[in-house]
Assembly symmetry: C5
Homo-oligomer: 333 residues x 5
């Protein structure tokens, strides 16, 4: 996870439907914009420093516990309702770094939504936020008619980021199944299974509470969500549930793959043992023949046959071939 | 899944109980029919194009999010309640293509039900819809007295399509069990198990939310469902639960089959090892005898016996047979 | 499952507490009896034909969906509430046929209870119904003071039939455990486990919704159940829960048995391998000795010892016995 | 389970706080005592006979279904509420008999609590009842100020009896784990695991509904439980939950032990196979050497070396030791 | 767990915001302080003796059942509501003793919170309590504005102690996974897995009811928690849920590790068997050659070749090398 450089962007949708970008020195104006019914101010903070936190505390009435959460990070997805605003914590899929080991990284995102404003806090470059910002600049009415609509748009961008990841995971599992059934290198396969499992459990741990977040937003009577937004949040909820369903299906498939792996290993062992048995018998039979003609009895007619030696070699060959055919027919070879 | 050619069929049940098919140019009349208490207009759209979507948006007041769902496809079975109508998403069993690998395909189906009309949107030839359409044409009162009744009839046809599939799956599992107990080719069996498991998880993923859909239709006070329809939706719910029960039972059986497979493999290994042991001993004993009479001691009375050689061969044979009987008695051979 | 011959029995408890059997030609009287407060008419139909269905539809106001359920059969246990009456579907344990494979058969039973009457529909000879019928004839007040009481009596007889079956299953599982620990024929044991598992899952599938049925009867305010009957339905519910508890316990034991089976097989393999190792060593050591004295060196003092040959045989025997004792002490033999 | 001899004890706490034991002939007085606000009559019946049941039915208004439960026995823990009284079924831990196989026995206990009286029915010597009886005789106010308090005292004694049993089970599981990790006799260990599992499932089956009993007593507004008793029943509930928690933990540990067992067996097999491989190689190499010098070539210089024989023996020894060191270094020996 | 020496500390936050430490002889003053709206008295008792219990009973109105809980110890985390106060039981992570076997110890903590006072009872040196005490002495307003705030502060310190433990466990699991995949000493690994599992189940058993405690504090209308404290208890709840989530994830990973272990063992067995097969064949082939040239036929041309012996040795070597290459190419060696 590459930490983004600290940055602060503040956009406002004016009642006229226009966009205005607030610069550092305009920040004292936030007061006037914030709280007005027909404005939506969106402050996006990347990697907040002490000054940012002070701004949040003072201008946006962020609760001390929420500030503490920002400072500590690694929060669970949740909705916390404070007197002045709601805090929502969510995680976004980020493209994994160069290290091939991990399949993805998750970027933490804290949203604060109050009357007339939304604040987003994050610690890494966020494709979701960047996309929403672009759409905001182009057509603020399509994404930020109300703070609730802006929150929906951001969360929707976040959740949509999970679908390509799921497809990747699905491909990896099918690849693993194939590798297992073909009987590839076990310890590599196992390492991949354990890594995938860890990744999926990790995903689940961040998505399952996110479903509760969506549910809370959907059901509880928050001022944030008006009647027009309701179907949108229903849609968001449906998407998260779909991701979770898919994830559970994949975990189940992975568990089966692990079991199948054991079966395959066990079966390979069978094959090896059959081959060992076949080899052993095929080699021991002529050795016995050789042993017989190596005995020192005085009266062994074969020994003085002119063709005794070729006869013995032939006997050996015949028994070897016989045994080989016997085992080949049983598919032991 | 063979995508059906785009097509549009629009039937109306007139108050007189007659059927009228609306052609392309009658579509401006929909306005008049739709919303009337005693009409039911059914528009069935296969593989909707932009023009169809416009029609839905304008004539049937379909919500933008629902339009988006149609465009994106791959929705979860759900009921979404909008101001003007309800959207229901369901999946229908379609006969699998030629490829032997998959056991079935699922066809997505979006239904919109509002005052006086039902719209069905789908992307493939649908046996269920075709059947309902036939019954509609023959006797509209039996399937479309109200929009709710039409929705029930369609969903019932969809759910009934799962029962033959379940029987097929059940047969396959019994076949697998037999194959496992008889000890067939492991890796084929495993591949079948994993494919079946994937199919069943997939089915479950589409059916489990469908149960919630039926439950929602049953319990929530939707204008769609009047007192007369209620037992029908109860019946629908019961059918879905029966399918799910059966599916869970089959998954459980499949899991046991996988475990049994491991046991069988492990047991086969035992049998192979016992045979190896038996072969080894049966061949090593005469080899030892041959070794003994191959020693070069000057004073070995047997060597000069006239019948020494036959005696040795007999000894070998006797020990071999003895060992063989010993192991045969223990069922190791 | 031997389908019973179609038959129809109709008994009525008169207000006087007497029993009256209605013959075919009395059936037009049902109208008068049915619906009276102080009568209970019980119509029992085995393997209903079209005429029976017509009777149900016309005289007992059975809903078309319920008629359809009778025609289709294989319904889930459920309570369906129609305007005129309740339908209850339950399954009864029937003695298994001659085929040793299945442990039992389940007989479907549809009950309809309305004001003043109960109808039972079934497809096989039913010990439960037979027993209730006998008690009805002897003392109608003990089983049919109200329709609710008659429904309870029938369901109670049905549920009581599960207890002996559970005991049989329990014995079979203990037998399997013993067989596994003693290490019997694996594939037979596995077949038994899979069959038992299938039987128990099947049972569960029919009993678990029956619990919901009992719960519905217990909690919902049905006219069927008055205050006096309530404790009886509580009792019925308790019995079903007890059966299900027992069944879950047995499934858990069966799962453990399957796992134990794997452990035993794996352990047997250990034993076989140890024996193979022991045999191999015990036979290879004297073979090596024989090999040594079979070498052709010119100067091998032992070869010319008068007692060289017995010495070599003794050495072989000594090393064999030594190896055997070594492995015996480690319990490998 | 040694059935106790039938016996009947009847104690009464008089309003004065004194104890009075009612003899057989005082039983007609029960009528007067029972139902008075300030009396608590406790009738304890062991192994009830027909006369006892008649007494319960007539003097204590026990419902026919409850009488039937007593006659049938093997009830599930439950609270049944009748018009006149509540019936509570619970199970008590009894010291196991001599047979070493079972870890404990459970004694069934039926309690009836009504206005001014408590009846306990059981079928074996009960340490819990005996203890409460002793405390009742010494200080009736401490255990029987109200019927609810007496019920609590009895159930508390019953539940406290589970804790030593849990400790015993915990020790057994730790013992099993040790045995498994040390690699003891598998089939004995397995038998112990299966027995323990059976015992724990059995315990769970009797305790889990007991929790529901405590919960029912705690939450439902029964006349039995006044405000003063409430924290005591809360305490009872907490104890049962603690027992169940512990039991679940132990079941989980047992399941891990079974899995660990499989791993250990599998690993032992590895060790055995490595040893077999090592033995095989160590013995085959000198056998090969002996075979070489047993060849009959006319020109084999070593054969005529004066020290050829010791050289060959040395070579054999050297290769054996070399192979042994090779395998020992890999820890295969 | 080193039992702490008995000790008693009593601090009071005066309305002025100052701290006052009450000595033994000031304890009669508690009466005056306790119950005042603007005071918070905190009594911390370590390893309470009879005198302490008397103090609790008399001065703080602790309920006899709560006293009993203190005497018995080993309570489940719970909230018990008595007339005068609430009792909360929680467990704190303590640094493990020297014994390397256990990963941590849990210290029991009983809290009593009533009007104007909090009592904490514990049996070991508690880092959490010590920390809160320090903060209380420095700035009582920050931790003890109300009894509810003080309870929050103590529980928060307790819960925060679980996070480092989780990190330790996580590291241990990753270490185990590595060890398994590298194929380390199985029985040590298994022992570690079983110990870790036991530790985690133990943790879960103490944390899962603690979540219920936090939930109770959060939802139920306790006088303890005012509107200002509510978000803090929400925060506490979130933290506990995060710990539990993490714990569940780790348990799941551990289960996979155990399964992977089995797969690795099984796979190692494959490798060993392949090697055994390869060794056997590589050694048996030259032995057969030696056997052939050890036969005593009179006419074996090779025997009299001048280079017969080197030829035979070469043949042996060639077959050995051929077999070795054959198996090496298949990666069996």
């Amino acid at each position: 996870m590459t930490e983004k450089q600290a940055s602060r962007t503040c956009l406002a949708r004016l009642p006229s439907g226009q966009v205005r970008e607030l610069t550092e020195k305009d920040l004292h104006e936030i007061d006037q914009l914030r709280g007005a019914d027909d404005h939506v101010v969106w402050l996006d903070v990347a990697s907040p420093d002490a000054k940012d936190l002070a701004l949040l505390r003072e201008e946006f009435a962020v609760h001390p516990l929420a500030i503490e959460d920002i400072e500590k990070r690694r929060q669970r997805p949740k909705v916390d309702t404070y007197a002045e605003n709601q805090m929502i914590v969510a995680y976004e899929v980020l493209p994994a770094g160069k290290g091939a080991d991990r399949h993805f990284t998750l970027g933490e995102l804290h949203l604060f939504a109050g009357k007339g404003y939304v604040v987003s806090v994050r610690w890494s470059a966020s494709p979701g936020i960047a996309d929403v910002e672009k759409r905001f600049r182009q057509n603020p009415d399509s994404v930020a008619r109300t703070p609730g609509a802006l929150v929906y748009t951001i969360l929707d961008a976040v959740v949509d980021g999970y679908f390509p990841l799921l497809d990747t995971l699905s491909d990896k599992i099918e690849g693993l199944e194939d590798r297992i059934l073909r009987g590839g290198q076990i310890s590599d396969t196992l390492r991949s299974i354990l890594l995938l499992k860890r990744a999926m459990l990790d995903l689940r741990r961040h998505l399952s509470p996110l479903r509760d977040v969506a549910n809370t937003l959907l059901r509880r009577d928050l001022p944030l969500i008006d009647d027009v937004s309701a179907p949108y949040f229903q849609d968001l909820y449906d998407h998260i549930v779909r991701v979770l369903d898919q994830l559970d299906l994949q975990r189940d498939l992975l568990a089966s793959a692990l079991e199948a792996n054991l079966s395959v290993t066990s079966n390979n062992l069978n094959a090896v043992m059959k081959r060992l048995t076949a080899f052993t018998v095929v080699l021991m039979v002529p050795t016995l023949v050789a042993g017989i003609y190596g005995m020192n009895f005085h009266f062994m007619p074969e020994l003085s046959w002119p063709l005794g030696y070729p006869f013995a070699l032939g006997l050996m060959l015949a028994t070897m071939i016989g045994a080989a055919i016997f085992f080949r027919a049983r598919d032991w070879f």
